[in-house]
Symmetry: D2
Subunit: 449 residues, 4 copies
Amino acid sequence: MSHIQAEHLKVQTLGPCKFDSPISDWLVKRAAFKPGIGVHDRMLYHDHLSSLTEYAVMDHERVPSFEIAGPRAKLFWKPKKVKAGIVTCGGLCPGLNDVIRGLVMVLHHRYNVTNIQGFRYGYEGLNPAFGHTPLQLTPQVVKDIHHDGGTILGSSRGPQDTEVMVNYLMDRGINVLFAIGGDGTQRGALALSQKAREMGKPISVIGIPKTIDNDVRFVEQSFGFQTAFTKAVEAIKAAHTEARSAQNGIGIIKLMGRHSGFIAAYAALAVNDANFVLIPEVDFPLEGENSILEALEKRLQRRDHAVIVVAEGAGQKYCSASAGTDKSGNQRLGDPGLFLKEKITNHFKSLNKPITVKYIDPSYMIRGCPATPHDSVLCFRLAAYAAHAAMSGRTEMVIGKWHGKFVHVPTQAAVSIRQQVNPFGDLWLSVIEATGQPRWEPAEDCALH
Amino acid sequence: MSHIQAEHLKVQTLGPCKFDSPISDWLVKRAAFKPGIGVHDRMLYHDHLSSLTEYAVMDHERVPSFEIAGPRAKLFWKPKKVKAGIVTCGGLCPGLNDVIRGLVMVLHHRYNVTNIQGFRYGYEGLNPAFGHTPLQLTPQVVKDIHHDGGTILGSSRGPQDTEVMVNYLMDRGINVLFAIGGDGTQRGALALSQKAREMGKPISVIGIPKTIDNDVRFVEQSFGFQTAFTKAVEAIKAAHTEARSAQNGIGIIKLMGRHSGFIAAYAALAVNDANFVLIPEVDFPLEGENSILEALEKRLQRRDHAVIVVAEGAGQKYCSASAGTDKSGNQRLGDPGLFLKEKITNHFKSLNKPITVKYIDPSYMIRGCPATPHDSVLCFRLAAYAAHAAMSGRTEMVIGKWHGKFVHVPTQAAVSIRQQVNPFGDLWLSVIEATGQPRWEPAEDCALH
Amino acid sequence: MSHIQAEHLKVQTLGPCKFDSPISDWLVKRAAFKPGIGVHDRMLYHDHLSSLTEYAVMDHERVPSFEIAGPRAKLFWKPKKVKAGIVTCGGLCPGLNDVIRGLVMVLHHRYNVTNIQGFRYGYEGLNPAFGHTPLQLTPQVVKDIHHDGGTILGSSRGPQDTEVMVNYLMDRGINVLFAIGGDGTQRGALALSQKAREMGKPISVIGIPKTIDNDVRFVEQSFGFQTAFTKAVEAIKAAHTEARSAQNGIGIIKLMGRHSGFIAAYAALAVNDANFVLIPEVDFPLEGENSILEALEKRLQRRDHAVIVVAEGAGQKYCSASAGTDKSGNQRLGDPGLFLKEKITNHFKSLNKPITVKYIDPSYMIRGCPATPHDSVLCFRLAAYAAHAAMSGRTEMVIGKWHGKFVHVPTQAAVSIRQQVNPFGDLWLSVIEATGQPRWEPAEDCALH
Amino acid sequence: MSHIQAEHLKVQTLGPCKFDSPISDWLVKRAAFKPGIGVHDRMLYHDHLSSLTEYAVMDHERVPSFEIAGPRAKLFWKPKKVKAGIVTCGGLCPGLNDVIRGLVMVLHHRYNVTNIQGFRYGYEGLNPAFGHTPLQLTPQVVKDIHHDGGTILGSSRGPQDTEVMVNYLMDRGINVLFAIGGDGTQRGALALSQKAREMGKPISVIGIPKTIDNDVRFVEQSFGFQTAFTKAVEAIKAAHTEARSAQNGIGIIKLMGRHSGFIAAYAALAVNDANFVLIPEVDFPLEGENSILEALEKRLQRRDHAVIVVAEGAGQKYCSASAGTDKSGNQRLGDPGLFLKEKITNHFKSLNKPITVKYIDPSYMIRGCPATPHDSVLCFRLAAYAAHAAMSGRTEMVIGKWHGKFVHVPTQAAVSIRQQVNPFGDLWLSVIEATGQPRWEPAEDCALH
């Protein structure tokens, strides 16, 4: 088939559908929740503006679209004149070393950029007050670092003064900076680029979004996320084993996910040992009808054990103390795992039913892992695209992924929209099917609302 | 940011690009190779026809688009009347049991379909001449099968007589059939559905494409593929270890990939121990200037050891004997791994340079693995979508993935377009960057030509 | 060499030793600590009494020796009349299912014993008051259980009334009982056998010692121990990664080991990322000269990060609150990991030196694992020996290992001597060499004292 | 219990044994096969000559015994004057880098030996004709090498001229040499030490036996062996999956084991998926009564699939061509895996029964692995003992293990006795119990004969 045409993509059906689905009410609710993304819509074969023009009259100025990532034939920077810097910020995430390695390899081998400095311990490394000396990065230095978790540059949380950092970079002649980090880091990078332009010494500042929670909308699947849920599966299996081995054994696993429950959802779906998955996007009643405690009682009656996977941002309305914010300015969360452990223990004590609760928090054992092969490939490619973007003079943008392809995303857009599990989406539907847990309502925190 | 508009996605640049890229010639070639997918194109933000209508005047009849997969509010089949069948065909691929499990779980728990039969040993199981008795599949039977590789149903290669199979299905009252297999299997399923309609007893025949090579265009990433390259990484590491431990040690790893080199490319990129990656899509001269042997000589001089990853379909012009076809009708391939081993051995013997060649073929150790957590999730979701499609009366289609979303693809379209590594694409560029191997020309076999 | 003679085992030396070893003082201390096991002793080639008789005049009655485990040509029980029971007690340990599986396989296939009952939830399953129904165990039931961690029988802590249990067993006609559990469990099994003999209805009660800590003297290496330290290595690696990625990062890993630090010692030695290993057998000063805090300060000055592995029973003199005992009668321990975390945090706060401490407790992720292949083999063999012992009418004994060979150990002897890390032994010397930590004195708790 | 006495180790029995065991005939054969190691023998509690003296009148000169390994208070070599060399020879084995690392760490940190040279590519590195430059080994160089398989020094097969090597070592002032390798390597090391003594310049030559097959009698469990069978388990699982997924599927896995079937036996026992285990120590009839082909027919009739594990040295009487010897002087073996594949294929063709045979040879994927944590610990300890032995002036010996303890073994004794699976031992009995295969007779090759 040399050229796909519309009729090639028509699906055969046996006839009209006359019977109600067992979840037809839920499907109606879903259509109302996010109108316009219904199952009767069709998905475009083409995703490039130019290809589509053949079929549609486009108002190119108005059609939202992304610049495609990739190497350009013409460069803004003369490779010989480039002095590049790399900085890693915030909590650990599998793949950081892979990204550093990829940046150095592509800058060096592809563009002959030989002056690459690795700033130590996050933005602290751009503030001379801390006295950290940068690492000189060469292919020899980074050759094997992807076998280890963490970041050879070290990391720290929180911002530093923008002007101080820009002055530091200028003193060292850095004209290209790669910032690997989360929302706060990218906002800092944006401020830094703007300040540099203001000061008449523009720097290409390219971000590589780091979010183990997979919660950046324009990244689709962030590096480290697959490694994270792959490792999380082991924790769920262990909790399941403990739960099954005691009468009325209950295993609780707290997983990463401040605002988005992707790790919990994917890990639970992968291993099918969880009976309840609690995520920030979905509300759950504690007691009474259709509640977690009621469902847990029934589960124990029926099967003698239960496994609960809870994302760290779930159930905050029950457990978020006025805990203030951390150094990076993120709201501190209450611990829904410990909260549930206590609540469940007291509940069954009041029912006079002996239970055994085991609580697992594998957080650091996940964050410190080396990347899986899939994430290694992803990191190398993100790094290559970041290098290409920098060489072409882009700035104030991050490398994103959209519809499975790598794109340039303005940092402002990237940090403004969070990716969350759609409480009416097919992913969550699969979780409900796999666990058999009650269908609960979307949470207030769910950005799709 | 409540609503993304075109200007939100504009990327900041520091100014015009005046310098030639080191690969600008190659980028020109690339644009010529696959015109219209250039880096100056932009990628659409919207991928739903209905969303795009806001910005564009659409000729809906002509714009190629896919039906979106998912549960429908109305069903074609009355759940109580459904008798479902499942069949797995062809070579092993990680995740087969996950798909079987997912189908049974969703049919049973979501649609209350309780009569589900697993036909044994591929299409043989639909031919009474073989005398195989189907397995009755229940949630209890499939509960833990995803922990094992392979398929509990067994498999076989090659077709059976269509009419015989349709009669067999009708005798047993099967009205929904799931066919898990490759190209040949899906063609067989198509014929089967057409024959059943002809005979006035339509069956919903839904395919789940199985291709460890990841070579189906409308599937984007097939189940088992990630598991395959994840395991392949171990073989490359072992070959690298053997190569480094001998003076002039050469490790050759043959990986799966009859027509598409994705496994070789991803595995090599993940681990970065390979110095040469040979895939069906890219030609390579054997001897003389810019050839593999010349490059290998240089590599040994410089580094004393080398690792070659070769996809089974690479270099066929050198090694494909007139080997005929297998039972499924696939052309038998020559073995480029053994061919290279001999060629290289003779070459260095003639140069009087002692070398040590170790040849690794990990094929069965990869095909028989259980799925990684990522592939387990993918399989469960593919199965859920297949169940939804069947219940709504679709037929002669497979579950595909397009731009990261699950879609319905007519079987005819699915089997007619192969997915291959684009020899001018960014993935292959990354492989060249990571290995340092010569840039070779696209092969004749490369469908993009 | 057909027959080894004394002279064959003489080692060649180059001449007399004239120089002091850097640790000669320590070696003198060591000789004093455990006199008679010095390096000038020689080790016997023969370990069987009968073989040695050729060379030595033996007072057979006085020479301590073990009965060798293995199948006997004559049996006490008529296989047809055997009704066997299996019970698993206490905390989880990798390999429990392997042992259950091995018992069933050997009893069934070797001895044609078909009535095998698996009692649920530890000794609770022998007390009808709990109403647990035993599982009927067959090869079909146990075929694949070794792929999962935990125990299919379930477990519980603590004893039940001996007479109640004996009556329950007699009512069911059980004449052979296998008790898989720790010290408390074996003491319970001993009481049970004695009571049954008293009541004139003897039961063969054979124990298989379960101790993840590897602290039973006559078992040498207990099942599950290798799996435990193999998994513990991952936790140490993760802590190391976290520690290195922060300036003055400190990782603390708490590992199993109530009285014996084998898991901590082996895991630290295997991965070589730990800088301090704290075990129950070795004392450590907190502050001042030669203390952990002083050594930690120096380490941070020199290397910017540190990793501390602490066995749960270490440092009890600092942290054991009057925490009472658990259901099995074990003294509850203070948590030396949390204690150290707080102590270290306060110490460096007082020095005004910012540090980052990450605390990892992987306990449940280790206990719930399936056994490694080595432990699977060990479990199968322990089970086979236990079955052989039971069929020959042995009772009140456990299967042990001595000098690398499986032996029968009277339960009374097995529970009376603890195996501990010798603070002057070569294992601990290797740990000191690998970590560079100070040489500290043996703890009061060290049974070798 | 402060002091174990003979009566503490008496096991309780319920009474005399009156019934015949189902394998009593086999047990009689076993007693005849290896007289003196019967089950009525008892095993000594004490294994030190000095401890035993309390109970027995010893003829110390005649009682065979080993020198115990460990650090000595007095050294032969002045640490400052030591120049050490390390060489690795023969095929790869997991743990080589761990041993190298351990030697460097202990020599450097314990004895302040700073001049340590790593000779490249086996004994070639001691022959200047090859022009290999030694690596200067420091803690910094070897710090992380244990994470990789293979040997950083490289290896080669076969001997070099002894005099040439001794002269080379003397020219460089080497007075301590560590030889890591198999039988041939240790024989070479012995010759080297003898020649050096002859020439009046004695060298401490200490061997660390490397045998992935675990076939050295005085080593009990060689480094790399556990890693090998742990990885072999994966190959068996894959073969099992392939076999089950085809009707009459047969999986054949060839594992290492030239003269000793330990890897095959342990791997098969660990995973319990094998139906036949063929090892060099046990003969098997090909055709006719009680033969492998007959047993295979029955197995396929009963279960539709079969898995065969074959050690590379098994069935040589059927397949060893006159293949000559390799560079190290080892007899080349016929390939019993390919032989069986062909034999089985033809056999069932003649019976007109369609089968599917899959053949897996995971050899290189096993040899190139990094060591498991257990093997890492073992390697570090072997290295430490080797360093201690060398410093005390021992020579012409290897580090062995006897009854679970590390000992010094004269090289002559070590290379003269092979460790094999006892065809009447409990290990092999467990294999027969786990597979259900026929009981076959000991092979001619079985050294215990």
